[in-house]
């Protein structure tokens, strides 16, 4: 794989084909858990890990899987991987596991994962599929973190509080700007508003780039 191809893949995963921003996949966990940055980061990392592993397994077994039974097999693989991730979270990040609650097991239902298995991993070699899982998972995780950051900042008035849930140690309050914030941001409507703003911002940037390029070429 050439270097420019490699960069293109990253640009697609993180921006042009971002699973959350563009494909609008996996919105349930995206909207539900992103009330703080650490929750977004935790679920983002868990989803990333499942996506890489599921892409790797689907790709590795693709030669032996008959097309008519591929969906139950993807479900089986993804469900087992999510169970493993849940056990790992319970063992090493118990506080984060409690905070994310049901949304760790619900990664199974994140259609971004089965979509990558179907669209990409079932047709491509293992290494390429792992890279695909990595870039797509990173795109999703980044979006979760951005939305978590916005909602926590507006809703709680803090930045990156409770990072101890991920890294252990004493309870950390993060950077506290004000005590309490605009409540709406942590409630479910705040999730929709933040996602809408993120999508609008992305479209605006794309629009600006598109209108800037031809003008330059005309000159």
């Amino acid at each position: 794989m050439s270097a420019s191809n490699f960069v293109d893949r990253f640009r697609n995963g993180l921006w042009y084909e971002n699973p959350g921003l563009v494909q609008l996949l996996g919105l349930c966990p995206l909207l539900a858990v992103t009330s703080t940055f650490v929750n977004g980061l935790g679920l983002g990392v868990a989803t990333l890990a499942v996506l890489i592993a599921s892409n790797a397994l689907v790709s590795a077994t693709r030669r032996w899987i008959q097309p008519q039974i591929r969906i139950p097999i993807y479900v089986l693989i993804i469900a087992s991987l999510v169970t493993c991730i849940e056990l790992i979270f319970k063992a090493w990040f118990p506080a984060l596991d409690r905070s994310l609650g049901i949304f760790i097991p619900l990664i199974v239902t994140n259609c971004a994962i089965v979509a990558r298995a179907e669209v990409f991993a079932s047709k491509n070699p293992v290494a390429s599929s792992i890279l695909d899982g990595f870039v797509m998972g990173s795109g999703f995780a980044l979006l979760l973190m951005v939305i978590g950051l916005i909602r926590e900042l507006v809703g709680h008035g803090s930045i990156m509080s409770r990072m101890d849930m991920l890294f252990g140690g004493e309870a950390m309050r993060g950077i506290v700007l004000t005590d309490g914030g605009w409540l709406l941001a942590i409630l479910p409507p705040g999730a929709f508003f933040s996602l809408a703003l993120a999508i609008a911002l992305k479209n605006a940037i794309d629009e600006r780039q598109k209108s800037a390029t031809p003008r330059r070429s005309r000159r």
Partner: protein, 208 residues
């Protein structure tokens, strides 16, 4: 027919591999998970234990009170018994408040032998963030107003929030959650008053 058999075999093999993967992860993590659960339980009981002198293991003294019972909540309640030199010191009840704003609220209520509250801690809830969730001990000191209170101080009729003519503070913008919790604590105290012997006799029987 051949393709059906083939598909079946493929599915079986993959299912076997996936099960092996989960089983392997489970064996590798089971011990740590057990330790974490135990630590979490001990930590969550701590608010009702501070200031007590006792020499018994708390988590081992767990007793389940199956429904129907007079405690708040319709599911089984849990009680931990605490004692020093075989004499009862306190009982810690884990009960559910049913009339919260969103689903049951799991509350830990510690009561000493004399019937006074040793500590209250909200274990689990789905109340509105920023409003009802200030009953959490990490978010405000609202639950501390119950420390040392009993059915004599105030009398059962005073066990209500101020808006309802009682003695306890509500929270600004949220009265449903505090009302539910005050009622839960009062009912737990009433239960303890009526069943004190039972709670501790069961403990002594089990100890023997």
């Amino acid at each position: 027919m051949n393709s059906v058999v083939k598909s079946g075999i493929t599915l079986a093999v993959i299912a076997g591999l996936c099960t092996a993967l989960v089983a392997l992860t489970y064996t590798a993590t089971a011990e740590r998970i057990e330790v974490n659960e135990q630590a979490w339980l001990e930590r969550s009981l701590q608010p009702a234990l501070s200031g007590l002198f006792f020499d018994s293991g708390v988590t081992e003294s767990m007793m389940t009170i199956p429904p129907p019972h007079d405690l708040p909540g319709s599911e089984a309640a849990i009680v931990y018994r605490v004692y020093a030199e075989d004499a009862p010191v306190a009982a810690l009840f884990v009960v559910s408040a049913r009339d919260g704003y969103a689903g049951p609220i799991r509350v830990l209520v510690g009561v000493d032998v004399g019937g006074a509250v040793t500590g209250v801690h909200v274990l689990e809830h789905r109340e509105t963030p920023g409003l009802g969730d200030r009953v959490e001990s990490g978010k405000s000191d609202w639950v501390q107003q119950f420390d040392g209170r009993s059915l004599i101080d105030p009398s059962p009729s005073g066990w209500a929030i101020k808006r309802d003519g009682g003695r306890f503070d509500q929270l600004t913008g949220a009265s449903v959650t505090p009302r539910a919790i005050v009622k839960t604590i009062r009912d737990t105290l009433l239960y303890f008053e009526a069943h004190r012997e039972e709670v501790f006799i069961a403990l002594q029987e089990e100890a023997e």
